[in-house]
Amino acid sequence: MSHTHSPGDGGGDHPAAPMVEEITDFEVLEIAVRELAIEHGLFTAEDHRRFTEWAESIGPAAGSRLVAKAWTDPAFKKRLLEDAVKACKEIGIDWAEPTGFGTPSDYMNLRVLEDTPTLHHVIVCTLCSCYPRPLLGMSPEWYRTTNYRRRLVRWPRQVLAEFGLILPPEVEIRVEDSNQKCRFMVLPMRPEGTENWTEEQLAAIVTRDCMIGVALPRPGRTADVHPVQKARRPVQRS
């Protein structure tokens, strides 16, 4: 299913072919389960709407702000390394949202891993796809693949090189395996050439990949570039 569309689909000169797009089995199942659950009073349409609104509000920008603040404010960095969930509140991220006790699958426990000139951290979830959603949004697809999960723990240098990150041998690589009870985020080192930058300027170079640990921030690098598999019916943001 994921390979029925080539990257060029829908582009180019040809007009969109008139087609009766077939609804997929997973789309059918999703609608059926959601409607049955609502009809049986297991949750309400309003619950679903509220949670969706929250899910659409999260993203890596919050993590970028957190890193930029830690780079410019040593006292904040100290608080962040001591109690990351509490420090998140200072930039407006409350891990208790949207239910009052967090999301059912993101246990309210975050640890921030500080890189040094001789130590680089990178995050994986070998068992599934545990990821600090409230701070970084949804995990990227590659993070969920068996390929990344299989290989990173055993061949971290090679895998990082495939992401374009080649680290010198004297830098130790520490792979942190996330789990249901503890989520991780990497605090990369502030790169040279960013002296006197504002927090906003700094946040722009702290991309999602830098906070997973598969890239390093540097001036001029403001986006993570990967090939993108297009959706058949992408999320309609409100």
Binding site: E30, T103, P104, N147
Partner: protein, 141 residues
């Protein structure tokens, strides 16, 4: 045998059972203990297994995928399931064929559907009728 060699052999055995389109296996009189251990290995525990380099793609999110995420979370929020039963059993303990073969959120929604039936929130007939009704609804459009 050295632990490292043993681990390597286990990983190779596990790798060998991953192509998951099974042919008839009617006369399994004996399974040696290394193979038994490999069979019992949880499919989602993949750390350290062999694989070739691949392209690390992004994927644009489908509407049904976001809806699935939210439905599964809201079912947890309202106490219908907890994250242990949901993840370790429902999403992951599927056998290699389904675990490796079905898309990420496909496993999630399948898990939710099975749970609703297993816990008698809906009957299997009701689910099947609902699926038919949804299909018919969209076929008309």
């Amino acid at each position: 045998m050295a632990v490292r060699d043993e681990l390597r052999q286990q990983l190779e055995l596990i790798g060998a059972i991953q192509p998951a389109l099974h042919l008839p296996q009617n006369w399994n009189y004996e399974v040696d203990s290394a193979l038994f251990k490999a069979y019992l290995h949880p499919p989602h525990d993949v750390g350290g297994q062999f694989d070739a380099p691949g392209v690390y793609e992004e994927k644009e999110e489908e509407q049904w995928e976001l809806n699935t995420y939210v439905t599964c979370e809201v079912l947890g929020w309202r106490g219908i399931w907890n994250s242990e039963e949901r993840r370790r059993r429902a999403d992951n303990d599927l056998g290699y064929t389904l675990y490796l073969g079905i898309p990420y959120y496909g496993r999630w929604i399948l898990a939710a559907a099975r749970m609703l039936v297993d816990k008698n929130h809906v009957s299997l007939t009701e689910l099947i009728e609902k699926i038919a009704e949804v299909k018919a609804r969209y076929a008309k459009q």
